[in-house]
Amino acid sequence: MGLDDALLQSSAPATLRFYSWSPPGLSLGFFQEQAAFADVPGSHQIVRRSTGGGAIYHQEEITFSLSLDIRSDSPGIIDWYVGVHQAVRAALRLVDIAVEFPDKISPVTREDQRRGWCFDHPGPQDLISKTGGKILGSAQRRIQRPRPRLLHHASLIMRAPSATPDCGAVADYRPPEDVREDLVELLSHQLSNFLGLSPSSEGPDEAELKTAEKLAMKPHGDPDHLLRR
């Protein structure tokens, strides 16, 4: 989380970062109540994201973050979600996994958002697997200073975790280990197309790593930050 927040503050025009979780992680949306997830079974680390939305149990998934400048011609918030999710859908189709936007959605209450799982409440821009479960979780943070930037978090579920067994997953279609590597490459390609960028493969620079270390200590390493709600 520290590195993602550092990338949000970075001077790099755009960064797409893929990562995984070991041990499993439980990430809360920025405004969520920690106490609502205190008794979730399993051996996991818990963290509060700077992005919004519902909680996610990160186990077998492809996690990515996109950090980039918001330009005057950048899509609005909803169009942004549609664009990212269309790119993910296109990548999945290339490995013969057909997911769709939902036909109908159920209303979400403020309480659901404060104490609920991300995958329990598909919205109109979400991707649904053939089992009817949401397969991709997304959330954003936007800043205006020092210049307009956004951080987009996404979790593509490879195999449904025990905490949210009803979510969709790549495993509904194919063994995740058969497609994981291809999917990372295809997602990179499709997301770059959506952004109109040509990706180059490199790690974080020194300034980003330094900022990440600082942010990993505070706020992310500070128990008060996790317990703030």
């Binding site: 919004g52 005057s72 403020r110 959330a139 936007r142 205006q144 200073r145």
Partner: protein, 126 residues
Amino acid sequence: MRPNDRKYLKSHEWSKTEGDTATVGISDFAVSHLSDLVFLDLPAVGSAVTAGEPFGEIESVKAVSDIYSPVSGEVVEVNDDLPDNLDTLNSDAFEAGWMIKVKLSGESGELMDAAAYEELLKAEAD
């Protein structure tokens, strides 16, 4: 035309100064741009805010955004009802939707009047 009795930041916050106190909020443009507001965090009375730095956070259905302070000083009053009544921001962002009152010690050098803010919104729409 937005109210011309206050000044605006390009990140869409406003401040209205009366005596040594500034009332601070976000514009109707910000509210409509964020859409479907869900949560709002405001600072406590007695805390310090700094011009150009975040003083709060707001979550719409799809994004968390920082709210930046147009002024520096001490928070002397907070609109405590607002986080539980976010519709107020949709109906009246410039009056009932105020967020904090600040005892002024300074203000951002980037503040613009209503006419300049309207120009900024036009440019963003083009």
